[in-house]
Assembly symmetry: C2
Homo-oligomer: 112 residues x 2
DNA sequence: CCCATCCATAACCTTGTGGTTATCTATAAC
DNA sequence: GTTATAGATAACCACAAGGTTATGGATGGG
């Protein structure tokens, strides 16, 4: 994953509304109206966020009748994770297994 | 890790100069002059980037004589990773062991 | 004390971002 | 063909972001 893509992906993730959209899409696909109902902002604002997510490759969209369904595309999240875990040797602890890592992350997330 | 912190961390990572600074600090601590020499921009610009990184908790700084050394603080990267891996069930493949994940990531990163 | 060095800060500029309202387009239903 | 609905687009606004140059403040050395 190159610098341009990382700019787009991390930039897309740097907004809590967009992270909220991704969380919602992790459940099921959704149309623009569904997503607009979740946030206290206008439909065009949501459409803009969806465009940002699409350009980052984090969602795909296809027409379903008069609606456009957004679908989570998690692959760039995997690559962003790959970038981040390169720094794991600088974390305070190291983990051999993913489940150990996740257990630790859950703890530290709750602690804060 | 709450939304405000995620805003700051992902926002800090959304700039390639700041990612470059983190990569440099992964080797050794560095002062502002060292970092300015690495990029084609002015010293105040680097100082601004360092402030962003510091507010995101990604670096700490302490005076060493007349210099201020920046030191990588990777803990927020761990927490950001924790947020990202929550989406691992939506990746195209799943991995039980970190080394499997890393191997895959190295491959896909090289492929692109 | 004076001076050089390292860095921060201030002021400014341009562009991007996140929101709004108003309007246009596309699809489906009748 | 008309109409209703879903969503995109345009025009606009306020402010944040990323850069610049100029200058100020802190530290160490002679």
């Amino acid at each position: 994953m190159n610098d341009d893509q990382l700019d787009l992906v991390f930039g897309a993730l740097a907004d809590r509304t967009r992270r909220g959209i991704l969380a919602r899409l992790a459940e099921t696909d959704a149309n623009v109206g569904d997503l607009t109902a979740l946030f206290t902002m206008s439909q065009p604002a949501i459409s803009k966020h969806l465009k940002v997510l699409e350009q980052a490759g984090l969602i795909s969209r296809n027409r379903q009748g008069t609606m456009r369904l957004s679908h989570l595309q998690a692959e760039p999240l995997k690559h962003a994770t790959g970038w981040l875990v390169d720094y794991r040797t600088y974390w305070s602890e190291s983990y051999d297994r993913l489940d150990e890592l996740f257990a630790s992350l859950n703890n530290t997330n709750k602690e804060q």
